[in-house]
């Protein structure tokens, strides 16, 4: 059960091909590798195979070719050791089930318990700790259906925390979640990254990716690109991943003129906008954390 400290955390897919029983090939030859201490976004249009890739990483579907390994172990072994934690999409959960917040978070601890699954002090501590970290300790006795959308999401994040998974998979975690919760979850994911965990987030919300993901795997029925966000998030790659499925606002063809200088304000109602600069490279919202990138680009230009 203990995460092997001797071996560094890695997640690798090599040539993964997934064929569904009806013959549909959802993924072909998907290859990428990630290390610990990262938040990686899995980005692609609907039907591009994000959920399929998650299923392969969790061992729910067996690739017809290729393999997934976690710290060089097959998925099965990694699961038995409790390395893989999964935060489901809200629609997958039966919210009317008679379990409370504490019960659900305790379900993350099953792998640590004996055959009878009777919680021990260590399990209770881990659950209490997880509940406090996501700010649900006071609501621990609530039936899960009696929570707000953001609180519901946090219950399952707490479960992943209590499980102490090394690899945490989140499927569309920000759909239907308010900004405050999104920020709380992002802060939490950053803490987990600092602890050396590997976090993989599937999303189609492009704008939020540069905010908190340092790596990106771009997929469309195969892996199109993977690597640091600033390298992968380019107009070219996104064009390949999304085709015509994105809305554009091209400044050079807009009414924005020279005399406006750099003064443009971008507003959207819900999702964050993704802004690409000249030549299609990624622009960050806040330059303070990206001084080095700005300097590099400056150097590259001159």
């Amino acid at each position: 059960m203990t995460p092997a400290p001797d071996r560094p955390l890695t997640l690798a897919a090599r040539g993964v091909t997934v064929t569904y029983p009806n013959g549909h090939v959802a993924l072909t030859d998907a290859t990428f590798a990630l290390g610990g201490g990262t938040i990686c976004a899995l980005v692609g249009v609907n039907g591009s195979g994000k959920s399929t890739l998650f299923k392969a990483l969790m061992g729910f579907v067996v690739p017809s070719a290729g393999a997934v390994t976690i710290s060089d172990e097959p998925v099965r072994t990694a699961q038995r050791r409790g390395w893989v934690a999964y935060v489901p999409q809200a629609e997958e959960v039966d919210w009317t089930f008679p379990v409370n917040v504490h019960d659900v978070v305790m379900m993350g601890r099953y792998g640590y318990m004996n055959f009878l699954r009777i919680p021990r002090a260590a399990d209770r501590d881990a659950v209490a700790d997880a509940l406090r970290r996501v700010g649900l300790w006071d609501l621990r006795d609530r039936q899960i259906g009696e929570l707000s959308g953001g609180q519901k999401k946090r219950v399952f994040v707490a479960r992943a925390l209590a499980q102490q998974g090394r690899v945490i998979l989140l499927d569309e975690p920000f759909t239907g979640v308010d900004v405050k919760t999104e920020e709380a979850i992002v802060a939490l994911l950053r803490e987990l990254r600092a602890e050396g965990r590997l976090i993989l987030v599937s999303t189609h919300n492009l704008g939020s990716v540069p905010e908190f993901c340092d790596q990106v795997v771009l997929i469309n029925r195969t892996v199109l690109a993977c690597g640091p966000t600033s390298e992968v998030f380019t107009a070219d790659n996104l064009q390949r991943a999304f085709g015509g499925a994105l809305r554009h606002f091209d400044l050079s063809r807009s009414t924005v003129e020279e005399h406006d200088g750099r003064q443009v304000t971008v507003l959207t109602d819900d999702e964050r906008p993704l802004v690409l600069g000249q030549g299609g490279h990624l622009e960050y919202r806040d330059r303070s954390a990206h001084e080095k990138l700005v300097a590099d680009r400056e150097a590259g230009k001159t």
Partner: protein, 291 residues
């Protein structure tokens, strides 16, 4: 009514047996009903209870234990259902419907062909008052086994019912848990068959759980409550049937339905009255709360 009269049922051996066997079966079915209702297997329970009928008939004709025949027949039906479901895109409920009615029809046909040996009424409506000692022993064995398995595995089965994906990511044997629940359902169906008959078995396997669901928000409590409700209604139903001279199964299930109605109206949280109170409270505070 004098005390003598009230105690009268206890002075007959067949009534004593009927009372405690019913209570035991009621408790076991009630315990399992929590899983059946939450897993959404009510139709499956209904199907299995009908599908055991040909097995009972054949076992009776062959002189084999009834439980064995019923159990085999139920499992065959379950296997047939999953096979057909796997091989065709027909919806699950339709598959279940096709398979169990086929089994039931075969059973009815069998009974009608051998009217001298097979008693339609006792198979369809149960006859706990005439239960044979050998059958009692089988029922006790089945009940003990079911309770033991549930006592050891209820937390795993809970996770399997609530979130099979999490169960799988933790490396739990999901297929085995599925099979366990199916076997428990078949076994309790077989056990309850003799008490209330094939038609009403499904009530014993659903109503106590559904009632308990209205009364609590905790799964563990729901199981205990369902079991207690099942035991109490089965005992009271069997007892009442002595005075009413009515079918035991009918008495038990009518009582269970009454229990459900009470919970439906007066349940502390999910009952109709509670919901109305909550709505009224909401109306009073609503103007103060910004959406």
């Amino acid at each position: 009514m004098s005390l003598d009269l009230l105690l009268q049922p206890f002075s007959y051996d067949y009534m004593l047996t009927a009372l405690w066997v019913s209570t035991l079966i009621g408790a076991v079915c009630g315990l399992l009903s929590g899983f059946i209702t939450l897993k959404g297997w009510s139709l499956m329970g209904d199907a299995l209870s009908h599908a055991v009928v040909p097995g009972v008939g054949l076992a009776h004709l062959a002189g084999l234990p009834l439980s064995l025949g019923a159990f085999t027949s139920g499992l065959l039906a379950a296997a047939a259902m999953s096979f057909v479901k796997l091989k065709t895109p027909v919806r699950e409920d339709a598959v279940i419907g096709v398979v169990f009615t086929a089994f039931f029809a075969f059973g009815i046909l069998l009974i009608s062909l051998f009217p001298a040996q097979l008693d339609l009424k006792s198979i369809i409506f149960g006859n706990i008052l005439a239960i044979a000692p050998g059958d009692v022993a089988q029922l006790v064995a089945i009940s003990v086994l079911c309770v033991a398995v549930l006592a050891l595995q209820w937390r795993d089965l809970l996770l399997f019912s609530f979130d099979p994906n999490q169960a799988r990511t933790l490396g739990l044997p999901v297929r085995r848990l599925h099979l366990t629940l199916l076997l428990l359902l078949s076994a309790t169906t077989v056990a309850a068959l003799q008490a209330v008959g094939a038609i009403l078995v499904v009530a014993m396997l659903i109503t106590p759980g559904a009632t308990a669901y209205l009364l609590t928000d905790r799964f563990g409590r729901m199981l205990v409550l369902g079991s207690a409700l099942g035991a109490f209604t089965a005992f009271a139903g069997a007892y009442a049937s002595y005075f009413l001279d009515g079918a035991t199964g009918g008495c038990i299930v009518v009582l269970q339905t009454l229990g459900f109605l009470l919970a439906f109206v007066f349940g502390p949280k999910h009952g109709l009255l509670a919901a109305r109170r909550a709505r009224r409270r909401l109306c009073l505070v609503a103007p103060a709360v910004a959406p």
